[in-house]
Amino acid sequence: MNLISMRETSKAFIEDILKTAKKHEKTAREKKVLSTLDDKTLGILFFEPSTRTRLSFQAAMRRLGGESIGFNDAHFSSSAKGETLSDTIRVVEGYVDAIVLRHSVEGAAARAAEVTTLPVINAGDGANQHPTQALLDLYTIQKEKGKLEGLTVVLAGDLKYGRTVHSLMYALSHFGCTIQLHCPPSLKMPESIVEEVRQKTTVEEVTDFTQADVVYATRVQRERFADPEEYQKSLYVIDADVMATLKKDAMLMHPLPRVQEITPDVDLDPRAKYFEQTFYGVPVRMAILETLMEGKNP
């Protein structure tokens, strides 16, 4: 009844979430309210700031008829006074029916899941995992491409510290996708993830996007670089010229926020799907909340 890491999430669970999300898409689009979780309260504990993930969880809980409480900055929690994460979780356990946790420290969600019997959903733990993002990414791909099986997906940008791409690697491995990695040498995907995913599907390094059915761009994070010159060298830009090299039926995704890696003129290209992608966060998170709060295991 927890969702901590895509590494240990089964294909059956993923397919179940995608199917349930499809059921909820109309409700989310029409901004209707169901009564599925009308007696439940969700604790949204964000020790790191967030816009999309937090708001879409709040919206998802609202659409299911439930309520949500929580904080979006560790400064407004007792952790600022030195309280341990375990103690915070034990306290919040008395107020809510499930916990969504974002934390800058890796393994925080796994630790939280140990100290409570409530469902814990990892909404990002340091540079480790972001499984709900991976599920909405899969839903977006399936929705826009009509399938997941056999696609060629390029993951671009910061593959070393980007938790969304770590989770997406594991998620895509269930569907026989060819995964292509496009990144500067200093931001390569951790070898342990590549090695594990390679046991299930093809993983290769590329320097262009020409074979892609899906391009998944991520932000290169300035704060990861000690040397500003190295940061500048690691930047990449997807503009109209790069889009011209993509297949006509390819799609471009980004977990957002973007900084400079996709120029604004690309937004008008019908292959740019990142704003649709953010919307799909609502039905997918409705599916996750409904499934876990009803006690099903990933």
């Binding site: 890796e106 393994g107 796994a110 995992q129 951790p190």
Partner: protein, 157 residues
């Protein structure tokens, strides 16, 4: 040196109550002492024998510690640094227990996760699952990062 001469040599250094760690790979004795946190303030007699001729390993190190019995956690730590080591528990000049160190399948609280941004560096006990032994590889049950033998040795030291 023959096996008999080796035995005679060891007998000459007998302790009354404590532990003899034998078959430590040559050059690792001081690392083992460091893991056991045995320093100037340790009250018992500690004998460190280095580069001792060995019929099995060519040369080996031996440590004899008067007045100390090893805890499970310490044995697991020694297994990471000195996988061939054997531990002899001594009572009244006799060996009452003897075993070769073994790395457990789970290293719980044995050593910190080498990832400085792992939750276990802030709270709770570390938990490293041994995924394979040759080459040695562990995965943290919390942050999911994977580490090899050298990473763990560096974290222990």
């Amino acid at each position: 040196m023959t096996a008999n001469k080796e035995n005679e040599f060891l007998k000459a250094k007998k302790i009354e109550n404590g532990t003899v760690i034998d078959h430590i790979p040559k050059g690792s004795a001081l690392k083992v002492l460091s893991i056991l946190k045995i320093g100037d303030d340790f009250p018992g007699t500690v004998t460190v024998l280095m580069n001792v001729p060995s019929s099995h390993y060519g040369e080996k190190d031996i440590i004899k510690i008067e007045g100390k019995k090893l805890a499970k956690k310490e044995v697991a730590q020694i297994a990471l640094i000195a996988p061939t080591a054997s531990v002899n528990t001594i009572q009244h000049f006799s060996v009452v227990d003897k075993y070769v160190v073994q790395t457990p399948k789970k290293l719980e609280g044995v050593m910190p996760c080498p990832n400085p941004n792992c939750i276990t560096r802030r709270e709770g006990e570390s938990h490293l699952d041994v995924e394979q032994t040759n080459p040695f590889r562990v995965r943290c049950a919390y942050c999911e990062k994977v580490y090899g033998e050298d990473d763990l040795k560096a974290a222990l030291e």
